[in-house]
């Protein structure tokens, strides 16, 4: 356990110091790269709450990334740049959409659940494509980044980096608290044995739905940050391959582990960046290697990267 704690502290210290180092060596590109990675880590963290702990295999988590993004972009399009208001709308809209999708999807299970969450996200994706007033297929340039008053200037690369970093750490802690609360116990219990959970007097449905809504709202925050990061919104925020990627981050890092999703996001996105930056055959066809990597990880590294770290508990 101690080795894991040391690794966690080293990781956090690295991320906290990274912008200073990057600035010192004038490699500002890395600040942007790590910021993007951390935004996806937030999305993966939120998915892990329902996928890892709740056993709900949502194949449509990119929907909330899109809702968060559209909330900011549409408000900005109409001249409303107040970042707090935008954040409120992004979180509220994501939670509301998650409530509707969850209320229907959670009645089903297994493969039907995977398919119905995918179908709902496809619906939103096509809705985004047909919203011609907001860019339709081509997307929409963000007129200005969210205005967070004097608090954080999102135009400042480093300041924005630390905001994303803070949100990620806060969510990591929040999910840790949720999972270990009475509420989280019920979520985990109904994942490992639904019949027994019912037998001791809990109906899983409302608990699962609540977790689904929390995860949606958290991913909405990731969408809010992501659209500010790219400064450009496209329906591709909600593309189904994006949902697949977020899901893969969770699995790669280690399903149902606290820091696993963050680890997964880092490894996948940095690997993608590394491969696509290479010259020649590898750089041109990097997706071939990512695809193979994905297959191999699923076939051979069942417990994910967190399972390889020292002190990993064996509970199966």
């Amino acid at each position: 356990m101690r080795a894991r704690l040391v690794l966690l502290i080293v990781g956090i210290a690295f991320l906290a110091l990274a912008p200073l180092v990057a600035t010192a060596f004038d490699q500002l590109f890395y600040i942007d790269l790590l910021r993007r990675v951390m935004i996806f880590a937030i999305a993966a963290l939120s998915l892990n709450l329902i996928l890892g702990y709740g056993g709900m295999v949502s194949f449509g988590h990119a929907a909330y990334l899109g809702i968060g993004g559209y909330a900011v972009a549409i408000l900005a399009h109409h001249g409303i740049h107040n970042g707090f208001l935008q954040l409120g709308v992004a979180v509220g809209a994501s939670a509301l959409v998650a409530l509707v999708i969850g209320a229907i999807s959670i009645r089903t299970s297994g493969i039907y659940f995977i398919m119905i969450t995918l179908a709902f996200t496809q619906m939103l994706y096509f809705l985004g494509i047909s919203l011609d007033a907001y860019g339709g297929d081509d997307g929409l340039r963000l007129a200005a980044r969210s205005d967070l008053g004097g608090l954080v200037d999102l135009g400042n690369s480093t300041a924005f980096y630390y905001l994303v970093f803070a949100v990620m750490i806060a969510f990591l802690y929040l999910i840790h608290r949720i999972v270990n609360s009475r509420f989280g116990m019920v979520i985990r219990a109904s994942n490992s044995n639904e019949a027994r959970t019912r037998a001791i007097g809990f109906s899983p449905y409302p608990y699962r739905l609540a977790a689904f809504v929390i995860a949606g709202a958290m991913c909405g925050v990731a969408g809010y940050l992501f659209v500010n990061h790219t400064a450009y919104l496209t329906p591709d925020f909600m593309h189904w391959t994006r949902s697949g990627e977020i899901m893969f981050m969770v699995i790669l890092g280690g399903i149902g582990t606290s820091v696993g999703p963050i680890l997964g996001a880092f490894v996948l996105l940095l690997l993608e960046d590394l491969l696509s930056g290479m010259t020649g055959f590898v750089g041109q066809h990097w997706q071939l290697f990512i695809g193979l990597f994905l297959v191999l990880v699923v076939l051979f590294a069942k417990r994910g990267l967190a399972g390889l770290l020292p002190g990993a508990q064996r509970n199966d």
Binding site: V57, T108, G110, Y112, I114, M115, L127, S130, G291, V298
Partner: protein, 307 residues
């Protein structure tokens, strides 16, 4: 509503429906028998389309090209099953979704390496490229008509194989109780490979036939794959009957929605609002249908028996 237009769109819907059915048949069997989610099924559709274009150019004959493409897709399917997917049958759905998602990326990039990223267009033989006058004033492309006929013939053939042959009996038995089938001395692994291979070949056939209508390009299998998932979820996973019904329903609803929703909405609400909402609603229609079906009948319309 114009009657000729309506008949024409009905035929288009039927044509899209049978294409969906060819894909859905393999996918639903793999679901039903191996309990396996196979996202890479769309890749087989793409492989079929590419192989048909390449083999037609190579042999100079459309028919030879089509046959070679079918055999080729069958082989690709068998190899994929033996190398990668076989070990996934016992895993949970999550692992299957991710591994086959990886295969999609792999196959998309593989065809891009071999044939390039630009879309390919293939020519039809003279005999299939014209129009035929079905009734007065309704001229319909021969090729689309042929797709409908081939699709219905394949459906009939599948029905015969599944209900009237020994192989079909094994397939049905495998779907209802795997352990019992292998206890009776049937080589279940071989059966799985056969089912997977022929499922891939059917997807390949769908791709071969779709090639001349849509562009042949990397990633072409993905959109139709998701639509096929809608089909089998509506029809009931594991059921061929359900796949056929679901495919026709989805094909019709999608085609009719795209053709008539905008004018129909225009009559109800203002034309400008219909202009905006019509296409959006039309592309969401089948997903809405699926949500409604799942909310009312979570097992689909024709659930497979024996589960």
């Amino acid at each position: 509503m114009n009657a000729i237009l309506f008949v024409e769109q009905t035929l288009n819907g039927l044509q899209f429906g049978v294409t969906l059915f060819l894909m859905a048949a393999g996918l639903t069997l793999v679901f039903g028998i191996m309990n396996m989610v196979n996202l890479a099924h769309g890749a087989m559709y793409m492989v079929g389309a590419y192989l048909a274009v390449a083999a037609t150019q190579w042999t100079g004959s459309y028919l030879a090209g089509v046959l070679l493409a079918l055999v080729g897709t069958l082989l690709v399917g068998v190899v994929t099953e033996v190398v990668a997917l076989r070990t996934l049958y016992e895993r949970d759905h999550l692992d299957q979704v991710l591994a086959t998602f990886g295969l999609i990326l792999f196959f998309n990039e593989l065809v891009a390496i071999i044939w390039g990223r630009a879309a390919l267009f293939s020519d039809l033989p003279q005999a299939l490229s014209g129009h035929i006058e079905l009734v007065t004033n309704l001229r319909y492309p021969v090729y689309r008509l042929m797709i409908i006929i081939v699709g219905l013939l394949v459906a009939l053939l599948l029905w015969y194989v599944v209900t009237r042959t020994r192989l079909g009996m094994l397939i049905r038995a495998g779907a209802s109780n795997r352990t019992m089938v292998s206890a009776l001395g049937i080589n279940i692994r071989l059966l799985y490979t056969i089912v997977f291979g022929f499922g891939a070949a059917l997807a390949g056939l769908a791709g071969v036939m779709a090639g001349p209508i849509y562009a042949v390009q990397p990633g072409m299998g993905e959109l139709i794959l998701i639509q096929v998932f809608v089909v089998i979820v509506i029809g009931g996973i594991g059921s061929i009957r359900g796949a056929l019904a679901g495919a026709i329903i989805v094909g019709m609803v999608d085609t009719m929605g795209r053709a008539f929703l905008k004018p129909a909405l225009g009559a109800l609400i203002s034309p400008t609002a219909a202009e905006a909402a019509g296409p959006a609603l039309a592309s969401m229609l089948i997903y809405l249908l699926m949500a409604v079906v799942l909310a009312l009948r979570p097992e689909g319309l024709f659930p497979a028996r024996g589960h």
